[in-house]
């Protein structure tokens, strides 16, 4: 399936970065604004999907040498282990906590453990979605 997709490729190069940035923003915004692990993860993975659509699998794999199965597994494990982390502090499985810190530059900032958990979710989503898409498109 060799077609001329110069336009798609050129647009993708720019769009992917916009989508990626947007995805990261959504992920981080989730605490107080619309967004969060799932949406962030899905948006990030749609960026990857766009890459795979615009270029062929080999090219993208050469550029981003990631095993997405491992990404997914890492995500799931992070989600589970941050839950277990709570056990170390003698609270129930998966209880989250947050606190406010005075950081240089940022000023008063809220740091919450839920971000760790959500990052696991996001990684899991990215890993699974991209694994599914790649597996199907590679299979001939």
């Amino acid at each position: 399936m060799r077609e001329n997709d110069v336009i798609l490729q050129t647009v993708s190069k720019v769009a992917v970065f916009i989508i990626l940035t947007f995805g990261v923003y959504l992920f981080l915004a989730g605490h107080h604004n619309p967004g969060g692990g799932f949406i962030g993860g899905l948006t990030l993975s749609s960026a990857f999907v766009l890459l795979y659509l615009a270029f062929d699998v080999e090219t993208v794999n050469a550029g981003i040498p990631l095993d997405y199965k491992m990404v997914a597994a890492t995500g799931v494990l992070i989600a589970i282990f941050t839950g277990m982390g709570a056990l170390l502090f003698d609270s129930a499985f998966l209880s989250q906590t947050f606190a406010y810190f005075d950081l240089p530059i940022f000023g008063k900032t809220e740091l919450a453990t839920v971000v760790l958990f959500e990052s696991g979710i996001a990684l899991g989503v990215v890993g699974v979605v991209v694994t599914i898409i790649i597996s199907i498109s590679e299979d001939v």
């Binding site: 589970i80 958990f117 597996s135 199907i136």
Partner: protein
């Protein structure tokens, strides 16, 4: 968390580590890696002997699920100490023996040792748990590990058959035991065995008392291979010999005995308990020894002998429980001797039977067959093995100077005492006990001699053997030698064992008799010329006579043909069960997805629709509805049109795009309904889903036309319109009947509770994080499913598994 908890978990954790070690050090025989674990555990429990014998007990409890009264609590007293020592002690010897028995090249050792350690942990869990449910958990874990070990050579059909049989029977018994446990829990309100024992008097009149007793005994009988559940044990002999020595003679089959001993303080003194335990035990003792004589395979012979010996111990526990009838008193203390004899024989049996299994394993390993008809004359070729066999078989036969003699004499004493009992209508039936015991012992003597004489004496026939027999390597001999030394040692110093191990166990089985005079008898090899000694003399004479004349009287066995055995009954039941359920299933399982969906929808319509109708809960109340704006109306019309058009499209591409229209319209609704998170998610998911559909279409043909005949379409239309209507009615009724307030106001505190302003995300990441975690796991499973579906394709060619 106490040290006992940790020690209990060590073998189970090690079971998971063993395969890793195996991969890291491919040159190492994994037995060496496994060996330190039982040794360390053994030394730990040995170090507890002195404090236990001083009357201490060790307890510890870790909360698991408080609401269900589930505590991972351990209890180490005299009774569990004996078992822990057996499990870890014999375990060490078996692991050592297996290092030389199993070849590193041919066998999958990482599996073997992982299963073995798993079993060890499970068995320790059974004897150390104080919580009924945890005990049950470990109990079934022993069944599972036993299943895995019996099926270790899973390519053989017989191994799989034996594994399945043992699993079905022991797990079946385990489930009935679980029901018994639950009944106990209902009666007492606690799961702790020790608390139940303390409550003994208050539950005895309860109507569930006897059913619970019977059900728990069923668990014990199946596990300890009591008649008629004994049939699994001979088939379990397909396991590698170290496994047979360990699980199927020394430890796992004794779990039933442990259970009986543990629950004696609860149920002892009850007539049902007395009769079931002693009756089944004594009959099993006879039947096992009687059947052992006819066996041609040495291991099968040992299996039946194990059944018989287990029956012996079981009956002793039953007879001893009479001491608890009517409370502890100086008159009935004589009956407690039976329990003492049971414990003593339990230890003795583990030593000599463990040794015998190892010896038979050596013969099998070095000669290549276990068939008595082919063996003979090995005495000069395997002198050490011969000596070990003589020691252990003579002990089993009950001859001095071996430990079996002592416990056999005590067994006779106990059955003779039972003859004197006046309770439980024993004055009528009591005489049966000494008679059956005596006959059983005669057969025991006969088969013990068969092991020695048929294998090592008689003519040596090289042509019938598969390889040149020679003495076993030293490593293989160490373990049986140690056991045989114990066999002799225990004959000479039985009272040391009694002081350190048996008496604390007696105190924990019979708390009512705590340190009463005469509870711990003095064991002495010589009692003078009493009835017991004459009985032994009779056993030797008649046993020898039976051995000589076996050829003439073996026709007796023709009265018990294979055809009508319990074994056949089991097979018949299994086959019937399979064919019956297959027929029942075939009747409605047509193999067509559509039919199944019709069942589901039909049932749904009938039950949900019927309930709605009958309870009169259809209430339609549209007064609280929010107003509809024009745009919303337009989207609704678009969606409905798109949905219905899907049914009529000719191309799958159009259908997919229409599905996309539905998805994106829903995203718009999410925006209108103040759900920005959902709208974003829906947009992205819809896009990716559409991409997925298109990708898959690349691999699939254009969809074929559905059948348009009315006969096919009509039921579909009825069901689908019915389902749609039902959904509408149901949803409207829910809208009309607001039964309680929404709980969501709680989540509106999310900023205070979870530090987040986005309520939806706080619910996902904090309030209901467990759901989210599992969700991502589901997602992952789906991903793995997709990946494996695509990547794993059936390999060409078959495998080498033997099928029916």
């Amino acid at each position: 968390m106490t040290s006992i908890h940790i020690l209990l978990l060590i073998p189970i954790l090690a079971a998971f580590l063993i395969p890793v070690i195996g991969r890291q050090f491919p040159k190492l025989h994994l037995g060496w890696a496994a060996l330190p674990i039982p040794i360390v555990l053994f030394s730990f429990f040995v170090s507890k002997v002195s404090s236990i014998s001083a009357g201490e007990t060790f307890t510890g409890s870790v909360a698991w699920i408080r609401a269900l009264d589930l505590y991972f609590s351990v209890y180490l007293d005299g009774l569990s100490l004996i078992f822990t020592l057996l499990i870890t002690g014999i375990g060490s010897l078996v692991v050592l023996y297996s290092i030389f028995y199993l070849s590193k090249e041919r066998e999958s050792l990482s599996h073997f040792y992982a299963y073995l350690l798993l079993f060890m942990g499970a068995m320790l869990g059974v004897v150390l748990s104080d919580n009924l449910m945890v005990l049950y958990l470990f109990w079934e874990l022993t069944s599972i590990s036993s299943f895995l070990l019996i099926a270790f050579w899973f390519r053989r059909k017989k191994s799989r058959y034996g594994a399945q049989k043992s699993f079905l029977i022991t797990v079946g018994g385990g489930i009935s035991m679980l029901v018994g446990f639950i009944m106990l829990q209902v009666m007492t309100g606690t799961n702790s065995v020790q608390e139940i024992i303390a409550m003994r008097d208050s539950i005895q009149e309860h109507e569930l008392f006897v059913p619970a007793l019977v059900l728990i005994l069923l668990g014990a009988f199946t596990k300890s291979a009591q008649f008629p559940f004994h049939i699994w044990l001979p088939d379990a002999m397909e396991a590698p010999t170290p496994v047979s020595a360990y699980l199927h003679s020394a430890t796992m089959v004794k779990a039933g005995l442990f259970l009986v001993a543990r629950f004696t303080p609860v149920f002892g003194g009850e007539a049902t308990w007395f009769w079931l335990v002693s009756g089944v035990g004594i009959f099993t003792m006879f039947w096992g020894s009687f059947s052992a004589v006819r066996q041609k395979d040495l291991k099968a012979l040992l299996a039946y002998s194990t059944i018989s010996q287990l029956g012996l111990i079981m009956s002793l526990f039953g007879l001893g429980s009479a001491a608890l009838q009517g409370g502890a008193s100086a008159e009935s203390v004589i009956y407690t001797k039976a329990i003492f004899a049971a414990l003593f024989h339990l230890v003795n049996h583990s030593t000599f039977k463990g040794a015998l299994f190892m010896v038979v394993g050596i013969v099998d390993h070095e000669v290549g067959t276990r068939d008595i008809r082919k063996l003979g004359g090995l005495i000069s070729l395997m002198p050490i093995t011969f000596t070990l066999t003589v020691i252990s078989s003579f002990s089993m036969a009950g001859l001095p100077p071996f430990n079996g003699f002592l416990s056999k004499e005590m067994f006779f004493t106990a059955v003779l005492n039972a003859n004197e009992m006046t309770i439980f209508s024993m004055d009528t039936w009591g005489l049966l006990f000494p008679i059956i015991a005596w006959i059983g012992s005669i057969f025991t003597f006969t088969y013990s001699m068969i092991v020695v004489f048929r294998t090592f004496l008689g003519p040596y026939r090289r042509e019938k053997l598969e390889k040149d027999p020679h003495e076993a390597p030293v490593g293989m001999l160490i373990s049986p030698i140690i056991l045989c030394m114990l066999v002799i040692l225990l004959f000479f110093v039985p009272n040391r064992l009694s002081d350190y191990l048996l008496s604390p166990a007696m105190n924990s089985i019979l708390p009512a008799y705590q340190n009463m005079d005469g509870l711990i008898p003095k064991i002495s090899p010589w009692h003078g010329f009493n009835l017991e000694l004459f009985m032994t003399a009779g056993v030797v004479l008649l046993g020898a006579f039976l051995l000589r004349t076996y050829r003439y009287w073996n026709v007796v066995y023709d009265f018990f043909p294979e055809k009508r055995s319990i074994d056949r009954g089991y097979q018949w039941m299994l086959a019937r069960g399979e064919s019956g359920s297959k027929r029942a299933t075939d009747r409605y399982m047509t193999g067509f997805l559509t039919n199944y969906l019709y069942y589901i929808y039909g049932f749904l319509l009938l039950v949900v629709g019927g309930t709605l109708w009958l309870t009169g809960s259809i209430v339609i109340d549209t007064s609280n509805d929010a107003p509809v704006s024009v745009y919303e109306g337009i989207i609704i019309v678009i969606m409905a049109t798109a949905a219905i058009s899907i049914l009529f499209t000719k191309s799958r591409m159009t259908a997919t795009l229409l599905n996309g229209v539905l998805g994106y319209s829903i995203a718009i609704f999410f925006v209108l309904f103040r759900a920005p998170d959902l709208a974003l998610t829906q947009l992205v998911v819809e896009t990716v889903t559409t991409v997925l559909f298109l990708l898959c279409f690349y691999h699939l043909p254009e969809w074929s036309k559905e059948e348009r005949s009315l006969k096919v379409r009509f039921p579909k239309m009825v069901v689908s319109i019915g389902t749609g209507a039902l959904t509408v009615l149901l949803a409207l009724s829910v809208q009309g009947n607001k039964m309680f307030e929404s709980i969501s106001s709680y989540f509106e505190d999310s900023y205070k509770l979870a530090g987040g302003r986005n309520i939806v995300n706080s619910i996902l990441g904090d309030f209901r994080a467990f759901d989210t975690m599992l969700e991502v796991v589901v997602l992952f499973i789906a991903g793995v499913g997709v990946y494996t579906l695509i990547k794993l394709k059936e390999p060409k060619g078959g495998d080498d598994i033997e099928r029916e």
